[in-house]
């Protein structure tokens, strides 16, 4: 262990940190106020010289203020290590003092955004399983100091680091640009399209909120109305829209995959995975095997064609953040079959569960989905009829119903579970196929649910709560459900292995 740095005294970040903090402050200020800046400069030619002077003066003052703030943040940001605790002092006016015991630290990740890459410093993120407040980001540390800090914290935990260097030689998985391109081609484009529109919709809302205040919303609304009228008239426009959407979907998957997973390399170490990826923001993640709560292996028909899948690791997150904290999901794309086998077998003994008997949900499951879809369509079409009052809209049912039936049958077919002594394997999916592997002793709590309709058919739902979200097994026979319930409790209560 190279401990040339002294962490027992309070120390600051690298002085380059001021710059990094400054840029990030400017960035977040821009993010809040871009719409105002846009409004000011929209009629740029009409701005008189004196006004221009005021504006640039104002901007100058804001920039100066941010610079002073950055320096103060830097000055007041100090950390040290004593007594197996990581201690951090920060805050300009509101001082805070955080102390994290080493064994509560879940991960130490290195990150580099573009600025940090240019001036060659690393951002060190110390993740805990608790809330975001205890998550610590040290914005700028030189590489050597960052590794020294990491090793000091990690080596005080039970893990031996001496072997790490040797094993780090050969990556388990390296995705080059060509295969990354293939991966992006086979992404779930529909989902990316939705993501894209969600972002777009957010922007639109923001613009509308501002223009509302300025009374310009009429022209915008008129524009949209005009377009919708044309829309119903011309099939040509619809065709163009479809083509446009397809292009957007492809492009957005492409951009997303390249931004997140560029230069993806995965190393398999004794008790951890190390994953490096990212184009602008390089991320280096060390994932402890013990902290993995469950893994999901996913593929879709296109990906199966070129023989790749992706693996999603789920780590423990604190309850309230479950849905928001997407980056707690660690995803490795473009895995070949043998690589998946290696990763799986390094985590747990999966052969037993894969060879166990396969159980499908009761027919009730199919009936329930059909019922709900039918109800949903009825409500949707009644609503649509009231809005448009054209009987013609019901023609679209000719197309919708076969698609819906096809999708539902697909969904039902993909639902299954296998259970062995120690592990649970759940299959689910619609177009994609997901296989979820869970070690039973990692369950946090268990719930069984039965509606009166389910009771008549003697089926029940099982919901297994883990530290990284829930896993549902819907509509299985009541006796089976009860067996799983009792077995899970038995496993959890007799296991002495730590769940994280």
């Amino acid at each position: 262990m190279n401990n040339t740095f002294n962490f027992s005294e309070f120390s600051k970040q690298s002085s380059k940190g001021i710059f990094v903090i400054y840029i990030s402050l400017i960035y977040s200020a821009l993010k809040i106020s871009w719409i105002f800046i846009f409004l000011i400069f929209k009629d740029f030619s009409e701005i008189s010289n004196t006004k221009l002077l005021y504006i640039s003066l104002g901007i100058g003052i804001i920039l100066l203020f941010l610079l002073i703030r950055a320096i103060l943040i830097y000055k007041n940001f100090q950390f040290k290590i004593t007594n197996n605790h990581f201690i951090l002092k920060q805050g300009i006016l509101k001082k805070s003092n955080t102390s994290i015991p080493f064994d509560k630290i879940q991960n130490i990740n290195f990150k580099q955004n573009i600025i940090q890459q240019i001036i060659n410093v690393y951002e060190v993120c110390i993740e805990t399983a608790g809330s975001t407040k205890t998550e610590i980001g040290i914005k700028a540390l030189p590489f050597l100091k960052a590794t020294a800090l990491k090793e000091l914290i990690l080596s005080n935990k039970v893990f031996e680091n001496s072997e790490k260097e040797k094993e780090a030689q050969k990556p388990l998985l390296k995705v080059d640009i060509l295969s990354l391109f293939k991966v992006s081609l086979t992404e779930n484009h529909l989902q990316n399209l939705f993501l894209f529109f969600a972002v777009l919709f957010g922007f639109y809302n923001q613009i509308q909120q501002i223009t509302d205040g300025l009374g310009k919303t009429e022209s915008l609304d008129g524009f949209i109305e005009e377009n919708t009228n044309n829309f119903s008239a011309s099939i040509f426009l619809i065709l163009i829209l479809i083509i446009g959407f397809t292009v957007i979907a492809f492009l957005s998957s492409f951009v997303r995959v390249f931004l997140l997973h560029f230069n993806l390399t995965t190393y398999l170490k004794k008790d951890a995975f190390e994953i490096n990826q990212g184009l602008f923001t390089k991320k280096s993640i060390v994932l402890k095997k013990q902290k993995v709560q469950n893994i999901t292996i996913s593929t879709n028909p296109l990906k199966r064609l070129i023989g790749v899948s992706f693996i999603t690791f789920k780590q423990a997150v604190s309850g309230k953040l479950n849905t928001k904290k997407k980056d707690k999901l660690i995803r490795i794309v473009g895995c070949k079959k043998h690589q998946i086998e290696t990763i799986k077998s390094s985590l747990f003994h999966f052969s037993k569960v894969e060879n166990s008997a396969i159980h499908f949900p009761d027919d009730y499951y199919k009936r329930r989905i059909f019922m709900f879809s039918f109800l949903f369509l009825t409500v949707l079409y009644t609503g649509l009829y009231f809005i448009f009052s054209h009987i013609e809209i019901f023609y679209s049912l000719l197309l919708i119903i076969p698609i819906a039936v096809f999708l539902i049958l697909k969904k039902v077919k993909k639902r299954f579970y296998k259970i062995s002594e120690d592990m649970l394997l759940v299959g689910r999916g619609l177009l994609e196929t997901h296989l979820i592997y869970l070690e039973i002793f990692k369950v946090q709590n268990i719930e069984m649910k039965q509606t009166i309709f389910q009771k008549r058919s003697k089926v029940a739902d099982i919901i297994l709560q883990t530290a990284s979200g829930k896993i549902k097994i819907p509509c299985i026979h009541y006796k089976e459900a009860l067996k799983i319930y009792n077995h899970t409790l038995y496993k959890v209560e007799t296991s002495t292995a730590p769940w994280m």
Partner: protein
């Protein structure tokens, strides 16, 4: 950790259904009533005010149906609350705590003590009048799905909390 490793196959697992469940405190039904009327009466008053001052004549033609619908809806909720009350039960075992409830949708949740993060006792104002409190058991899972037992005597809640705390620290 343990020196001797044993792994005998267990033939008969303890069955959750055959556990002796305890009902929650009877007086919690009164709390449910009060909570119900605290919601129902303001809404009814609001509806009457709307009827008298705000509704147009076209709507007021159907006002009797609106009242009937309103009463029927809340009557249904009231009946369900009443009927489902005896199903609210909990059980403590040596290694876990279980709560079950529900008339139309039966739910049973078990939290093993070895996964408990913390235990909380709440006393809501109305429950306090009857000396009742609720106990929540939190795990590292999604907190909305953790276990909460409403309407048990404060002493019982404290005892359960003590019991769980002693089990966690074992």
């Amino acid at each position: 950790m343990s020196e001797e490793f044993k792994n005998e196959e267990v033939k008969n697992l303890p069955d959750i259904i055959k556990v002796d469940f305890k009902s929650i405190d009877k007086s919690y039904l009164k709390v449910i009533y009060i909570n119900f009327f605290l919601l129902f009466i303001p809404l009814l008053v609001g509806l009457i005010i709307l009827h008298q001052f705000s509704f147009s004549n076209e709507i007021n033609e159907y006002i009797i149906f609106i009242y009937l619908l309103f009463i029927a809806f809340f009557g249904l909720i009231f009946t369900i609350l009443n009927l489902s009350f005896p199903f609210r039960k909990y059980a403590l075992r040596e290694k876990d705590i279980t709560y079950k409830a529900g008339l139309l949708v039966k739910k049973i949740t078990t939290v093993p003590f070895s996964r408990v993060q913390h235990v909380e006792i709440d006393e809501k104002p109305i429950s306090r009048i009857f000396g009742l409190s609720s106990i929540s058991v939190y795990t590292a899972g999604d907190s909305s799905d953790d276990l909460e037992i409403k309407g048990i005597k404060k002493e019982t809640a404290l005892q359960i909390k003590e019991f769980i705390s002693s089990k966690i620290n074992e």
